[in-house]
Amino acid sequence: MKQKFILIFFVALFFSCTSDLDFDQADHLDIAPVIEADFIYFDLSKPNLTDYNGEFRSSISDTMKIDVFDDGDIKKAFIKAEVEVAYENSFERNFFSELIFTDENDLNLASATLNIKAANDNVVKGDTVYVFDKQTYPGIINAKKIILNISISPNTLPIEDKTLHFQSKIKVYTQTTLEK
């Protein structure tokens, strides 16, 4: 009896079953991360709108080099970018802003404009979302620079000691396949 018991125990121990497994199916995986981060911001005040001589400047501009699209994988994975901007303007002037994605030769690949309304008695607030998708702007994945132009609507009055606060964030949609 004991011998039978021991035999059964050992036999049972070394027998097992397993369902079929298919490891080959894991040779690729589709992922679609969406990355959200702060983008550009600025506070415009009187010193920004006057030159060294104290003369009023009706437009100002700045350029930011970007090298994210130098990476071929990012270029391939990019689907679209949503740029959300918000502003608070206490100037009693309208502003016109323009965000331009360009290549190395300043060729416009994608752009967006924003009219910032003048303040009355109160600070004016506004926000909007711009979408830059690869289908509408196929060249955006070759962008090397971002140019930000701000122009101020003409006004005969001296520039006020007020501020324009501008902030933005970017949400980048990507899709790629991880392969073994």
């Binding site: 369902s19 497994l21 199916q25 894991a26 995986l29 983008f39 600025f42 920004n48 501009s61 080099k65």
Partner: protein, 454 residues
């Protein structure tokens, strides 16, 4: 008796969420020579022991708390769907653990003072990796869906050891009721790779000047390794590591068994209180620092501003990445066992065999075994209820029902069979897992072949 009941309730309450690499079946398996490695103070009823070289004590354990192989690789529906379904259930504290121990030799004898002295050596491979679920989800989904989530670097934890352990132990029955034992260990670390004790957080909060502020706070992440030298990647080099690794450490085990009454016995052990100091072929990589990002502030300056380069430089100045070859300590994963058992049924007089403790043994025992092991991220714990039956002086069996993080109802079984002077110990946990290994979250097997002289 009330104290005993209180103890049981307390342990069940503490370990209600069971975890761990739990050798429940093999612990305190009455009379088994292999039990000595799990409790240096276990009661011994033989005078001399000689382990069959290489086969005296082999343990294999593999477990995965987060998912089974079947969850990911079942044929049929697409892999992506299974991957995401598994990922959505994954927690930061889920881990995969593999532990293989193979004792090369052991020998024990009873000295003139009736102390059982023994020595031996075993080879151990131990690997644990936590699945940093938050960081995996960050890579796969991005941060947009849960922008305010806090990503904690403490869940980046992995450790692999290949070590030899030389030990010398003494077991002594000090009275009819108490056996105590202790064991000294000399570790020789053949190879190690670890990233443990990491700290720091990545998180996003609402900003003042822009929508958000992205934080990297108190980042201190280090990966350490020893045992790999790319300039000496030869068989003779690796063979020399087995002989003289150059990485040594010390450890200590302690245990006791106490007969509270004729029917109730307690035992306790602590294993692997120790460390290894790695100093050969070190390759470490460390990242540390703090950084905050609130977006790019446009200056509208007349001078050219390379914003992107400025951000990169600022990041590199604040978050330092460096290689080093500094020696380091690796703490052994200390284990703690506690067991309580209650004798039932007929008394079986072992006075002829149990020369050190001529008290009667019962043929049946029920009891509980509780366990904890100090691992990175958090301690693992487990609890098991068991029934042990002595069919004769040569044959015992044990059945366990265990709770651990792989399963809340894992059934294990053990067999102790002595034929001539050869004692076979075979234990296995999660028997139900054998019905479908692909769906099993864990399996463990222990086999021991020892010559015992009574």
């Amino acid at each position: 008796m009330k104290k005993i009941v209180y103890l049981i309730v307390l342990f069940i309450a503490i370990i209600i969420e069971a975890r761990g690499q739990f050798e429940a079946v093999g612990y305190d398996f009455s009379g088994s020579a292999t039990s000595l490695l799990l409790n240096p103070g276990t009661k011994i009823n033989y005078q001399k022991a000689f382990g069959i070289p290489v086969f005296s004590n082999t343990r294999l354990f593999a477990g995965n708390t987060g998912f089974s192989l079947y969850d990911l690789f079942a044929p049929g529906t697409g892999f992506d769907e299974k991957f995401y379904r598994t990922l959505d259930k994954l927690e930061n504290t889920d881990f995969v653990l593999v532990n293989i121990k193979n004792e090369m030799f052991n020998y024990g004898w009873t000295d003139d003072l009736m102390r059982f002295k023994y020595f031996g050596m075993y080879l151990e491979f131990d690997h644990i990796t936590y699945f940093p679920a938050d960081f995996i989800r960050l890579g796969v989904y991005g941060n947009a869906a849960d922008i305010y989530h806090v990503y904690d670097a403490k869940y980046l934890a992995s450790k692999t050891d290949l070590i030899e352990t030389f030990y010398f132990g003494i077991n002594k029955t000090t009275s009819f009721d108490l056996s105590i034992g202790y064991r000294f260990k000399l570790y020789s670390g053949i190879a190690n790779a670890q990233t443990v004790g990491n700290s720091g957080q990545f998180y996003t909060v609402d900003g003042q000047r822009n929508f958000y502020i992205h934080h990297l706070d108190n980042i201190d992440i280090e990966a350490q390794s020893s045992g790999y030298n790319e300039n000496e990647d030869t068989a003779s080099y690796y063979l020399s590591k087995f002989l003289f690794s150059g990485n040594y450490g010390l450890g200590f085990d302690f245990g006791l068994s106490y007969r509270y009454s004729d029917k109730i016995s307690l035992s306790f052990s602590v294993l692997d209180l120790g460390f290894i100091y790695y100093r050969k072929d070190i390759n470490n990589y460390k990242i540390s620092g703090d950084y905050q990002f609130e977006g790019i502030e446009i200056q509208f300056s007349d001078n050219y501003e390379d914003y992107w380069a400025d951000i990169t430089d600022e990041f590199n100045e604040n978050v330092i990445a460096e290689d080093n070859t500094d020696p380091y300590f690796s703490i052994r994963p200390a284990s703690f066992y506690f067991s309580l058992k209650y004798g039932m049924g007929d008394l079986k007089n072992q006075s002829c065999k149990d020369f050190m403790n001529p008290r009667n043994e019962y043929n049946n025992y029920i009891g509980i075994t509780a366990y904890s092991q100090l691992r990175p991220v958090k301690a693992h714990v487990g609890i098991s209820g068991f029934y042990e039956k002595k069919w004769s002086s040569r044959l015992s069996t044990k059945i366990n029902l265990s709770m651990d993080n792989y399963s809340y109802s894992s059934i294990g079984a053990g067999l102790l069979w002595t034929t001539g002077k050869l004692q076979w110990t075979v234990t296995m946990d999660n028997l139900y897992g054998l019905t479908d290994l692909a769906k099993s979250r864990k399996q463990s097997l222990q086999i021991g072949l020892n010559l015992l002289y009574f």
